[in-house]
């Protein structure tokens, strides 16, 4: 019997599509990176704002994190095609297309309020503040579905520490870019733009709170909040603001957009809590994308280590 050798190429030998498409950019990027390294890391802080972004570009030197879950990662296709991103559309399947040409460079982030170092930083500078880590987190939407995403970033506390908040600062507020020309959803008044979210300073300083600029080892896709977002895995997804242009420190609790829109339905805290239902639907279970049966929702989305942040608080009142 003639046995033919299988023509199947092991997947490890297949170049990822994104790398293939970006091989020229990669070469250019490598040259620049080499030059920057040669001149010295000090200089890149002074470098002019980066004017282009390598979409899908692989992020180098990403370390694994003990904070990651070992659960099955949701397919990239689902995480990049099923997006609640009202700045583009209220239809979850539309942001992927509508955000395709969204410009994420040049991009600056204003850091102000009660900090000793008020500044406007280029996103490229922020990304280099600390070593990138892969954080595989559960992500639970207030609507009752969930995903597992390998985000790339570092603890938000790294940025906070450099901003040097004053003693009076108790809260951090995040503002999403307002650019109706690029974001068709902002041409309507579905929400009160720009989108604002906030955390208590101690929440923001928790190691789990992530300043995020990538996922699946690559730069963050536009529909997932590029170029810079936060990820707060123990809270409902809407707390994790996308496309951030401003980080403001204050002594009073920020009024987050959804709380303003429907105060009885979306609180400031919005911690994942199976025992506190949304007024219109149960939060006891969730549908993990890709699974047929619903699974029980866990307190703090399974991140029990944050419980001490809320000791003594009535979480039914502070929903």
């Amino acid at each position: 019997m003639l046995i033919k050798k299988s023509a199947v190429i092991p997947s490890s030998e297949i170049t990822p599509r994104s790398l293939y498409l970006n091989r020229r950019k990669f070469l250019a990027g490598a040259a620049v990176a080499g030059a920057v390294a040669a001149v010295g890391s000090r200089l890149d802080e002074l470098a002019t704002p980066s004017l282009t972004v390598d979409a899908d570009a692989k992020i180098d030197g990403v370390k694994k994190s003990p904070l990651s879950t070992t659960e099955k990662i949701t397919p990239y296709k689902d995480v990049t095609n099923y997006n609640n991103y009202y700045e583009f559309s209220t239809d979850k399947y539309e942001p992927a297309g509508l955000a395709k040409d969204f410009k994420t460079r040049p991009w600056t982030v204003t850091i102000d309020g009660l900090v000793s170092k008020k500044q406007v930083l280029d996103v490229g500078t922020i990304i280099k503040m600390a070593a990138p880590e892969e954080r595989i987190y559960r992500h639970r939407c207030v609507e009752g579905w969930s995903i597992v995403v390998p985000w790339v970033g570092f603890s938000l506390s790294e940025l906070i520490k450099r901003a040097q908040p004053l003693g009076k600062a108790k809260f951090v507020e995040f503002t999403t870019v307002y650019d109706p020309k690029q974001m068709p959803g902002q041409q309507g008044r579905v929400l009160d733009w720009p989108y604002v979210e906030g955390l208590r300073l101690d929440e923001a300083n928790h190691p789990l709170a992530l300043l995020c600029f990538g996922m699946y080892g690559e730069a963050l896709p536009n529909q997932d909040g590029a170029p810079l977002r936060i990820v707060v895995p123990w809270k409902y997804g809407f707390k994790s603001a996308k496309a951030i242009v401003r980080i403001r420190f204050s002594d009073s609790q920020p009024l987050n957009t959804w709380n303003k829109m429907a105060p009885n339905e979306y609180g400031f805290y919005s911690n994942v809590n199976p025992n506190v239902d949304h007024p219109r639907w149960s939060q006891a279970k969730e549908r993990r994308l890709g699974e047929f049966l619903k699974r029980p929702t866990l307190m703090f989305n399974g991140y029990d280590q944050v419980a001490s942040l809320y000791s003594g608080m009535d979480l039914k009142k502070n929903f």
Binding site: T90, V190, S282, L289
Partner: protein
């Protein structure tokens, strides 16, 4: 009307289901297939309810009496899609968890109102045959079938209460329903001579063949 027209319309009404089935078969229902199935069957229930409610105004405004022969079919398709919608809920969403479903119906007003709209359609589906029209008598049958107004309103409210912020789609349904119901209010207020010419009992005698 041409003889083959009715079967063609019938098949077209199955189109939305065929499309869902085709997409499911090809794994093309996206990241959250159950949500897509739920929304699609819900949408088509509302669409068929509105189409059913559009028959009488269209018939009166255009004088195309044959339209009435399609009313029962559209009404039954509304029922067909709401049954699929309900099955999706009890099977794919709640997985036959009776306790959870009862809690939902009692606690979630969008479920309560949607469930009400569904239940109200059941007697209408049952009494949709010529035999039942005869048994009930035209007037009583007509009165019973006015439940479709309540059911359609419940359906639109169900949708409205379900969305988080963007009400433009439920609003579209609400506007169309408002026009269709508004037409009936206006028609009933018109001088008696015109109302009698299009007396409702006539429509009862017309829906003969399916």
């Amino acid at each position: 009307m041409v003889k083959w027209f009715k079967p063609v319309v019938f098949l077209a009404c199955l189109g939305p289901l065929a499309r869902l089935g085709w997409k499911a078969y090809n794994n093309a229902l996206g990241a959250n297939p159950i949500e897509v199935i739920t929304h699609s069957t819900g949408d088509w229930t509302l669409i068929f309810l509105l189409v059913t409610l559009a028959i009488t105004p269209l018939r009166k405004l255009t004088g195309q009496l044959w339209l009435i022969r399609y009313r029962r079919m559209f009404g039954l398709f509304a029922f067909f899609y709401v049954v699929l919608h309900f099955l999706t809920y009890i099977w794919l969403d709640k997985f036959f968890d009776v306790h959870e479903m009862l809690a939902d119906i009692a606690k979630r007003k969008f479920i309560t109102v949607g469930f009400t709209g569904f239940v109200l359609l059941i007697p209408l589906a049952i009494t949709s045959t010529a035999g039942w029209i005869r048994r009930l008598g035209g007037k009583r049958w007509q009165l019973l079938h006015q439940l479709i107004y309540v059911s359609a309103m419940a359906g639109v409210v169900h949708y409205w209460w379900l969305v988080k912020a963007d009400v433009h789609k439920p609003l579209e349904y609400a506007v169309v329903l408002g026009v269709l119901l508004g037409y009936r209010v206006v028609a009933s207020l018109l001088p008696a001579g015109r109302t009698r010419a299009t007396a409702p009992t006539r429509s009862v005698q017309l829906p003969d063949s399916v």
